[in-house]
């Protein structure tokens, strides 16, 4: 990269294993949202409604976006 | 393709002749008044009949009317995709589309097509005096609705016949060997047992004589719908299983739901067909409808079920075929009682297949397209078209001297089609044709590879068909 200072701007190292910026964290949250729902439909939905997965992944997403 | 240059020349001659007949010339140019310069576009598979329409009839029509015809000749899959998308989305890209006989019910269910009869009644000035529905063979009935209105003008029609190698069947040495082995005279098979026996005999005979010869063709492409079609269209009916084994009233496929797709007869039929693979050349598992024809034309099979559209070139075109003059044509082998059912109208022994051109409801040039469809439906263009594509849609075409001449060369295929045609029938009137085919196809493929036993395959196929029909909302 040509400009090293610029590159790290807005990036930080939270609890995620890699350095991320805001976009990355939203992206990861969305990926997790989908993954959790698919997993839920296959294995858990018979016992617990899908809404639980939605709430769970929203909470998880919020944590990732804020602290990741 | 074929001897096209000569064909085009002769066709132009006919076109010119017909356009010198005053009444005709007047009608086409009068009816097309105001439409000159319009372009109509159609989509079709690039087959000899289509190519003839594109290369010969299209230009002749343009000459007579001033309406230009653009033809998109493409592959079978693409043809469906695009025609359906066009009609579904109501875009009006195509002014005429190829309608294979088995898809018409799907199109009719969606009101995708223009009612040709009604439209011609509405505008009598468009009605050609040379277009007469009653002159068509009974195949045209497939393209009518229950009121008898026409939705497509037939452009090709054929039956899947039993082809055998006359030269081998009549060879005294072969005959003798056959008699010695089975105690019976070698003759075209009448039932499945005989067929299998002949297949076995020629496979061994081919092996011992070191030649590349097998007992039968099998249209068993293990990843292509062609194999499904051979099972449900050509083999099932000869075992007395009609309409794909799906009950035409309840739309049930499995025996439990009133269908016969996994009935003992169907299982016997599939087992017989799969069993034939042992006596078929190795390319059979990749053979679609055209490749079995190529196999037969290459002299690699002694007998087989081959679509009639290929019969003519196999028997006559020495550029593509090594068995010119050696082809015999007969009816497919059947189980006892099936012929009687077919004669009485309860059943059939195979598909009367083919297609028509129809006008999508979304077309923006319906008038011009109506003229075009009538043009290709005229009596006068049929004979040359028949020679180019071995297709017959008019009764009178059978009597044309040129067709009679060719009939002799193809061992009476046309005569057989004329006389025994009623034993064959079009596809069942299902509006979910492609959907169910795709649902059952994977299991037929797996039966071909041996991953599933024929009876398991049909049990699963029936369950899949039931599920699909339920999902589509046809079965409650």
């Amino acid at each position: 990269m040509s400009d090293r200072a610029e590159k790290t701007e807005g990036r930080r190292h939270g609890f995620l294993p890699i350095e991320t910026n805001a976009f990355d964290r939203v992206f990861i949250a969305v990926l997790l949202f989908v993954a959790l729902h698919l997993f839920w439909m296959r294995f858990v939905e018979a016992a617990l409604p899908l809404g639980v997965a939605t709430v769970l992944s929203l909470v998880l997403g919020a944590i990732i976006v804020m602290r990741g | 393709m074929y001897h096209f240059k000569g064909l085009i020349a002769s066709a132009f001659a006919t076109a010119l002749l017909s356009s010198t007949t005053p009444a005709l010339a007047d009608f086409w140019s009068d009816a097309a008044k105001g439409l000159e310069g319009t372009t109509i576009r159609g989509i079709s598979e690039s087959t000899p009949p289509s190519n003839y329409a594109k290369d010969v009839l299209g230009p002749a029509f343009t000459k007579a009317t001033g309406i230009k015809v653009e033809f998109e000749a493409t592959s079978w899959d693409q043809m469906y995709d695009k025609a359906i998308k066009d009609m579904e989305a109501n875009t009006g890209i195509y002014d005429f589309v190829y309608i294979e006989q088995d898809i018409i019910y799907s199109y009719l269910a969606r009101n995708f097509l223009v009612d040709i009869t009604a439209d011609l009644n509405e505008s009598p000035n468009l009605k050609s005096p040379t277009f007469d529905i009653s002159k068509f063979t009974s195949f045209v009935d497939n393209f009518k609705n229950d009121k008898g209105n026409l939705f497509g003008v037939p452009m090709e029609a054929f039956i899947k016949v039993y082809l055998y190698r006359k030269d081998l069947f009549n060879d005294p040495k072969v005959k003798e060997a056959y008699k010695a082995k089975y105690g019976a005279d070698l003759a075209p098979a009448k039932d499945h047992k005989e067929y299998r026996q002949i297949a076995e005999f020629f496979t061994e005979w081919g092996k011992s004589s070191g030649g590349e010869l097998w007992g039968t063709t099998v249209q068993a492409a293990s990843g292509h719908p062609a194999s499904v079609y051979e099972v449900v269209e050509s083999v099932f009916p000869t075992y007395g299983i009609y309409n794909w084994g799906i009950d035409a009233k309840t739309y049930g496929a499995s025996v439990a739901n009133g269908g016969r797709l996994n009935s003992p007869e169907a299982k016997a039929a599939l087992a017989w067909w799969i069993g034939n693979l042992a006596y078929a050349p190795p390319e059979s598992t990749s053979s679609t409808w055209d490749e079995i024809a190529a196999t037969f034309a290459a002299g690699r099979a002694a007998q087989g079920l081959v679509y009639g559209e290929n019969a003519a070139w196999i028997a006559t075109d020495d550029k593509k075929s090594t068995v010119v003059g050696k082809v015999g044509v007969a009816l497919p082998p059947v189980e006892p009682g099936v012929i009687e059912q077919a004669t009485s109208g309860q059943g059939y022994i195979g598909y009367y297949d083919g297609g028509a051109f129809g006008i999508p409801h979304s077309s923006k040039n319906k008038k011009a397209a109506l003229l075009w469809l009538q043009y290709i439906g005229q009596e006068s263009v049929q004979a040359d078209w028949a020679l180019a594509g071995s297709r017959i849609t008019h009764n009178a075409t059978y009597d044309d001297p040129k067709v009679k001449e060719q009939d002799k060369k193809v061992d009476g295929y046309y005569t057989l089609m004329r006389e025994k045609g009623p034993l064959f029938r079009g596809a069942p009137p299902f509006p979910f044709h492609n959907q169910v085919r795709e649902a059952i196809a994977p299991f037929i493929y797996q039966a071909i590879t041996g991953e599933l036993k024929p009876d398991e395959a049909l049990d699963k196929a029936a369950a899949a068909a039931d599920a699909e029909l339920k999902n589509l909302g046809y079965r409650k």
Binding site: S2, F23 | M1, S75, T91, Y307, W313
Partner: protein, 283 residues
Amino acid sequence: MRHLRNKASASLGAILFWLISSIVTLLPIYWMFVVSARSRVQLFGSPSFLITSFFTENYTSTVSDPAFQRYMVNSIVIATANAVLVTTLALFATYALSRYKLPGKENLFFWTITNRMAPPAVFLLPLFLLYTQVFVVADVRLFDTKIGLILLYCVFNLPFAIWTLRGMIDAIPKELDEAAFVDGANTWQVLTKVILPLAKPGLAVTGILTWVFAWNEYLFAATLTSVHARTITTGLAEFVTVTGTNWGRMAATAMLTLVPALLVLGLAQRHIVAGLTFGAVKE
């Protein structure tokens, strides 16, 4: 590859290695050529790699077929226009990504490539609708036009081009353009006078590969064209029909499509190695 005793046997081994690997590489193409030189009757039976007689009709009837000529011209126009357009836009885009401070540009960079990931089949439907119903001016649709395909191919070629060029542009020292700016050049001049010459190998490779991808594309061309803008790859599929796959004609057509591709490849062969960096940054 292996430790060899002396130089002579080493070079002999090398030549043997290259000969064998070349034969393996060429075999399928050679077989295609063999098929194109045979009539339908000659195809079956025990296969032979020898060409004893040349059945020219496959070639003559292909070349003289007006549909083939039209398809060929369309393909050349579409592939070339697409390559030029894509390379130009990708140069702009990578320059911006490399030299400007744009928030979230790494994410943007990744997003561009996701455009190439979609399984094509299902996207045909919305594209068909777009081309037939949305992009309509008066009576002119984007459907069945060359420009329609040229624009569409950008969707999977642009990301690829940006990825190929990125490393190249990043590797050009920033001090060079700073110096030019100090000398009073404007952005456009920097781009054309400084960056462009230095990025030439990268641009050449990007251009060639883009051209090849556009030249080879089948599914979209088959669905989004009808008569006027059909390309040669769709022409290939037309030989598979109910009444027989015309393998000879198909092979002949395939051989003929190789000719322009080879020309393009030959033109820029020497740039290829210098220019292929795929977003991998040289440190």
